[in-house]
Structures are given as structure tokens and as C-alpha cells.
């Protein structure tokens, strides 16, 4: 019975939906996290009777045909790259991107990863690093004895050094942009890798055309909307339940059919 399999595809899709929703809820407070959405597509249709075939010798034409669908599949899990709220932290090395762009980060493997989590700190040698200790590209070294660091909206890093009146420029931050941000490959730790779907990274400075601006002393909160996720969870759970009712109904019909011979 096709209905049993159709209902099973529905249950499998909703199960995946719940997995995606639970990951969103779990990352509600992850800096720079972008919520994901499971998207469904209907599966192939079986043409039992083609539209337009003649249904009798008299030449009557079937107007619509019988097409039977075989259920649903999870087409893709799409990342919604909407801006998260900017939260003030007061920390000098928290930098949020207001608009498009990613910070390039050098991974221990030599690869470049990209992140929007700008909760940086300084390594023992004075280099600007992510929370995991990976160097932010291009490497910026805050000199020892710096009493203050200021980062402008366009990414210029200036340090005030004790004994000097004027702050000195110690580096320039860069941002990377992608044609299709949704196509980046997430690898955990708030990091993403370039993929063939995202297109190559285009480097540029903040506030230039197509790039967002930087905000020192802020972090970007995740863009997960708790109420929206919980509502989606309820919908997914009910949808799962309804698909299970189809299984029951199909099972009852099969039982009825098998009891026919008495």
C-alpha cells in the first residue's frame, strides 16, 4: 500500500524538521549563529491515468488524469542570513558586523574559515584571535603596553600606548563577502567554509560597497526567534502525529481487506 510509504516519508521529514528546530533552539544564545530552516518538496508523482487520454470508445477525454503523489522529502536545510540583534558588551575586543560580511579566520590546518562571531581576544603574543584561538586574518598584533584599543567602523585598529599621546594604527581588518551566503558550509565552532555553492570569497574593507560596518563593543546575537521556533516545533509535532494517523488508517484498511474472507 502506497499510503503507508507516503505517510512514512511525511514522518521522516517532520523528524528532520524537529532536528533542525532543536538545533536552532540550542543555539539561541550562540554569538553570530544563523537559524536554519528545513524546506520540503513533494516527491515524484505517478501517472495512473494520463490527462487527455480517451476514456471511452465514444471519444470522451479524461480532463485531468489521476496523478498520485508519493509523499514529501526534505529538499534542503537553508540558512537564513538575516542580521542578528547587536548586543552591547562593552568589551573592547567584541566586534559585530552590521550588514554583510564575514571575518576571515586562519584555521590550524591552514585553511581559511569565515565567521560572524566577533567575540575576539588577544593571544599571548598579542595577536587578535577568535574564542578558539584562531588568528583573525590579516593578523593584527596589539602592542604590549597598549592601554586602549579602538576599532573604527571601517576596520582600522588603533592602539593607545602608554606614554604616547596620539594613538597609532596597528592594523586594518578585512571582511569577506559571498554571492550566496546560504551556501557556506558550517563546520561548527561558529565557523564556515567556502563551498562551490557559496562562490569564492571577495575580500574588502568594512563600509565599502556591499560590506557592512563594524561595531566595537558589540556582539551579534543569534537571529533565532524563540517564539517562532517553539511554534514551528508544535506544528512539526502535530504534523508527525497526523502522518502516524495515516499509517493507522492504512493499516485498518489492510486489516479490513484481509478479514473479508470469512
Amino acid at each position: 500500500m502506497l499510503a503507508l510509504r507516503t505517510a512514512a516519508t511525511g514522518m521522516a521529514a517532520q523528524q528532520m524538521n524537529v532536528e533542525v528546530i532543536s538545533n536552532n533552539i540550542a543555539n539561541m544564545n550562540t554569538i553570530g549563529y544563523k537559524k536554519q530552516r528545513a524546506e520540503f518538496e513533494d516527491l515524484l508523482y505517478q501517472n495512473v491515468e494520463r490527462a487527455g487520454v480517451s476514456s471511452s470508445a465514444g471519444g470522451t477525454i479524461v480532463p485531468t488524469g489521476v496523478q498520485i503523489g508519493s509523499g514529501v522529502k526534505a529538499g534542503s536545510v537553508y540558512r537564513i542570513t538575516q542580521q542578528g540583534a547587536l548586543t552591547q558588551t562593552g568589551n573592547k575586543l567584541d566586534i559585530a558586523i552590521d550588514g554583510k560580511g564575514f571575518f576571515p579566520v586562519l584555521m590550524p590546518s591552514g585553511e581559511t574559515a569565515y565567521t560572524r562571531a566577533g567575540n575576539f581576544s588577544v593571544s599571548p603574543t598579542g595577536t587578535l584571535v577568535t574564542a578558539d584561538g584562531y588568528t583573525v586574518q590579516p593578523a593584527i598584533t596589539i602592542p604590549q603596553g597598549a592601554t586602549d584599543v579602538s576599532i573604527s567602523a571601517d576596520g582600522q585598529v588603533q592602539a593607545t600606548i602608554a606614554g604616547q599621546t596620539a594613538p597609532s594604527v596597528v592594523g586594518q581588518m578585512q571582511l569577506a563577502n559571498f554571492f550566496n551566503e546560504g551556501g557556506l558550509e558550517a563546520i561548527g565552532n561558529n565557523l564556515m567554509l567556502e563551498s562551490s555553492a557559496s562562490g569564492p570569497a571577495q575580500l574588502g574593507t568594512a563600509t565599502s560597497t556591499g560590506f557592512g560596518s563594524l561595531r566595537q563593543g558589540y556582539t551579534e546575537a543569534s537571529n533565532v526567534d524563540a517564539v517562532g521556533e517553539v511554534t514551528a516545533l508544535i506544528v512539526a509535532q502535530r504534523a508527525y502525529e497526523m502522518n502516524s494517523k495515516v499509517v493507522t488508517a492504512a493499516d485498518q484498511m489492510l486489516a479490513t481487506a484481509s478479514q473479508l474472507k470469512s
Partner: protein
């Protein structure tokens, strides 16, 4: 004498098919742009009766699937690449197998900066050309008439395509519809596109569950009728057998 069994069987076959369609509706209760389907059945006169006093037997036959093209609920997502058509009309998608049509406007941008579906197939503008966005400009703003502007500069216009007869559309999976070669769509001048919204499936879960109950009960009733008919014939055989 066995006609009642065959009539019952014809009904059971259509009920099974109706269940398959209801199962597909429920499985797609959360699929964007999905349109509810239901089975059309009609009476099918059987072959001419062999004896002059016998009445003709009418079977039941499914002859088509009808689709309810009413608008699904609009869910606001705020995502600039989520689009929906309000009222009649479809987006035109260029697939490897030719032009297809959809009401699922959850688009994205590919690595060539084209506006594409999640399957990577380009979305067509009102002139039937792919839509290329400018990556150096801010996210697109799409007006109600489908005009896409980036940074205040209007560019391509999304096409909203309409058909003279929706019943001739076939579903091909992937939320796409295929039109027969003979039916060409027209670009609607008054098509309304809504940015930041997704059209949900128009399946009403409560109605579908009721439908499901109806189908399984009807199936049981027919089965009961068939088993009564079976009893009747076995009784007839035993009684007539005694008389002889």
C-alpha cells in the same frame, strides 16, 4: 449474482486510491506552495446485462485528480529571498527538462549570482530570462509588481505567469508544475509578488483527518456489504442444494 462483489471491489479500489492521495496531502501539509488534491470519481456503466429483465450495473471509477488552487496561508519570514505570489499565478523556473511553474518562492542566489530555486534552477523574469543580481549592492527589494531593485535602482522584473486552464497542469515533484505543450502561459500584468513571505501548503489538516476517517469507514462498510453478499450466496447454495 457476483455483480455486488465487483461493484464493492470497484469502490474499494477507488477508496484505496483516495487514501493514497490523502496520505500525500497530509505528508505535504508543511510543504510551501503545495496544492491540495482530491480524487474525482464517477459512475461507470458496466457491460450490457445478459438477460432482458436485469438492470444495468453501475461501477465506480476514478477518472481524475482535482487540485484546489486556493491561496495557502502567507507566513511572514522577513527573509528577502522568500517570495510568494498573491492571487493567481506562478513563478517560472527553467529546469533541465524545460520550463516548470511553482508557487514555492523560497529562492536563493547561486554562485553565479542568479536568483535560483533551492534545487539551483534559475527563476525567470517577465521576459523569460534568468535574473542576475548585483553582489556589490545591498539585498534586493522586490515591489508588488515584481520589480527587483537594489540600492534604489530598479532592475529585472519577476514574472507572474498565468494559465487559461489550471486543471491541465501536472505535478512533477519538487513543488513544480508542468504545463502541456499546447498551453502557453501569459505574463500577468497585475500579478502581485510579496517579498519576505512564504505561501504555506493549503492543506487543512483537520479536514484531511476527517477525510481519512471517512475513507477508512467507507472501506469497512463496503467490506461488510461484500461479506453479507458472500453469506447470501453461500446460504442460497446450501438451501437450493437441499431442495434438490
Amino acid at each position: 449474482m457476483n455483480n455486488a462483489l465487483y461493484v464493492g471491489l470497484s469502490r474499494q479500489e477507488t477508496l484505496q486510491r483516495a487514501l493514497e492521495i490523502a496520505a500525500n496531502n497530509i505528508a505535504n501539509a508543511d510543504t510551501a506552495g503545495f496544492k491540495l488534491e482530491s480524487l474525482l470519481v464517477q459512475t461507470e456503466p458496466g457491460s450490457a446485462p445478459s438477460t432482458p429483465d436485469a438492470r444495468p450495473v453501475a461501477y465506480v471509477l476514478d477518472h481524475g485528480v482535482t487540485r484546489d488552487f486556493t491561496q495557502g496561508a502567507m507566513e511572514g519570514t522577513g527573509n528577502p529571498y522568500d517570495l510568494s505570489v498573491e492571487g493567481l499565478g506562478f513563478f517560472q523556473i527553467q529546469t533541465a527538462n524545460g520550463m516548470r511553474y511553482t508557487r514555492d518562492g523560497r529562492f536563493t542566489v547561486d554562485n553565479k549570482n542568479q536568483l535560483v530555486t533551492k534545487a539551483g534552477d534559475p527563476v525567470m523574469d517577465a521576459g523569460g530570462r534568468p535574473i542576475v543580481l548585483d553582489p556589490t549592492k545591498p539585498e534586493p527589494a522586490i515591489a508588488q509588481d515584481g520589480t527587483i531593485s537594489q540600492g534604489g535602482t530598479p532592475g529585472a522584473k519577476l514574472g507572474v505567469y498565468r494559465f487559461p486552464d489550471l486543471a491541465q497542469l501536472q505535478k512533477v515533484g519538487g513543488n513544480l508544475f508542468e504545463a502541456p505543450a499546447a498551453m502557453t502561459p501569459t505574463v500577468a500584468a497585475d500579478g502581485v509578488v510579496r517579498q519576505g513571505t512564504v505561501e504555506k501548503s493549503n492543506v487543512q489538516p483537520v479536514l484531511e483527518i476527517t477525510n481519512l476517517i471517512e475513507i477508512s469507514r467507507a472501506y469497512e462498510r463496503v467490506a461488510q456489504m461484500m461479506s453479507q453478499q458472500n453469506d447470501l450466496s453461500s446460504q442460497a447454495i446450501s438451501r437450493l442444494g437441499k431442495a434438490a
